[in-house]
């Protein structure tokens, strides 16, 4: 039951994009078309879950026993960068279809703040293994949900008569603000 609450709160209440503001660069960059945003969402779910497991293990079993907590930032980013590269090579060799679908998003993900952010949040909340996996997966699912919904809105925006000065990124940000207001409504659901 607690795990269910954790998942719902990570997907809706504390949505990684709209309430914690992590991963906004791809949010504005790759949300112009629905199918690219779906690809990005799936790639993020995959990488975030894997990266969380590895960074959590490295923190718990390497950094803490040797008293090197201050190296956290450096170690985490290296793990994430290496992991993304590895996943890319692995997919290229093993699964052509998956690589064609997700390949172009993978390099972008290294500098996606959502991946690093979730890895850091796992440590900050002091989760155990199960909670950590559930939290990472549902946060990433929240990212995917938000980016897919937003891409749908943006496809409509293209044909709407937007004031000249607000075209492009400006109206996208305002739309994201209104969407974030809607997600704020979920706050009553779980504490």
């Amino acid at each position: 039951m607690d795990l269910l609450f954790l998942a719902i709160s990570a997907i809706f209440v504390n949505n990684i994009l709209l309430a914690q503001y992590l991963g906004n660069c791809p949010f504005c960059g790759v949300s112009k078309k629905l199918d690219t945003s779906i690809g990005m969402g799936v790639a993020v779910i995959f990488v975030v879950t894997l990266a969380s497991i590895f960074t959590w293990a490295a923190y718990r079993y390497i950094l803490i026993p040797y008293d090197m907590g201050f190296m956290q930032t450096l170690v985490f980013i290296l793990i994430i960068a290496a992991l993304v590269q590895f996943v890319e090579i692995f997919l290229k060799k093993q699964s052509k279809t998956l690589y064609n679908a997700l390949g172009i998003y993978l390099p972008l993900i290294t500098t996606n703040c959502a991946v690093m952010g979730i890895a850091l949040l796992n440590i900050k909340h002091e989760f155990d293994f199960i909670n950590m996996v559930v939290f990472a997966f549902s946060s990433a699912a929240g990212f995917a949900l938000a980016i897919v919904l937003f891409a749908g809105l943006r496809e409509r925006l293209v044909i709407s008569p937007v004031p000249q000065a607000l075209r492009g990124t400006a109206i996208a940000l305002v739309t994201a603000g209104i969407m974030s207001l809607a997600f704020l409504g979920f706050r009553g659901m779980v504490q």
Partner: protein, 203 residues
Amino acid sequence: MKFKQVLLHGLWKDLPPFRLVLGLCPALAITSSAEKGLGMGLAATFVLIFSNTFISALRKSIPDKVRIASYIVIIATLVVLVEMSMKAFFFPLSQQLGIYIPLIVVNCIILGRAEAFASRNPVFLSMTDGLSVGIGFTISLTLVGSIREILGAGTWFGMSLFGASFEPFGFMVEAPGAFLCLGLLLGLMNAYSRKRGEMFIQS
């Protein structure tokens, strides 16, 4: 001539996070008060200046294939420095900024400038570029932080502005206010640029 151009481009032409739509996460997340905006801006400026300097100095010895990884290691080292010195000297501010300090590592502005400028320009120019973009970023964050703090809490850098009768516009310090404020500011900048006949950066 080139020096002056590089020094000034970060302040209007490539002003982050408006013109270069990079580094949105800190611009949205920590601008609920002017003080946090200024602190984050200065931390990012420090990292930008030094990362640009080191990357430019090493640009001939870094192999092309592993350049992104090398940049990230340089940037991450600088961020760890900032993180530790902020914990030592500005503890309350570092608590407020929380995970957003280590997240400077993945701030796209820094990697963006490394890739677009420092990897192909001499050391001194790259340093100037880092300074210029960093100051632009600091000004933007402080501005957004000021607007949100004044409207959302009725204070500026913690000083009360309107007295006790002011009813704060709480929406502005919440998440939606950040997106709205940034979007409208960008719209204003676009409108001003159009009036002056400048080229649009985004379509």
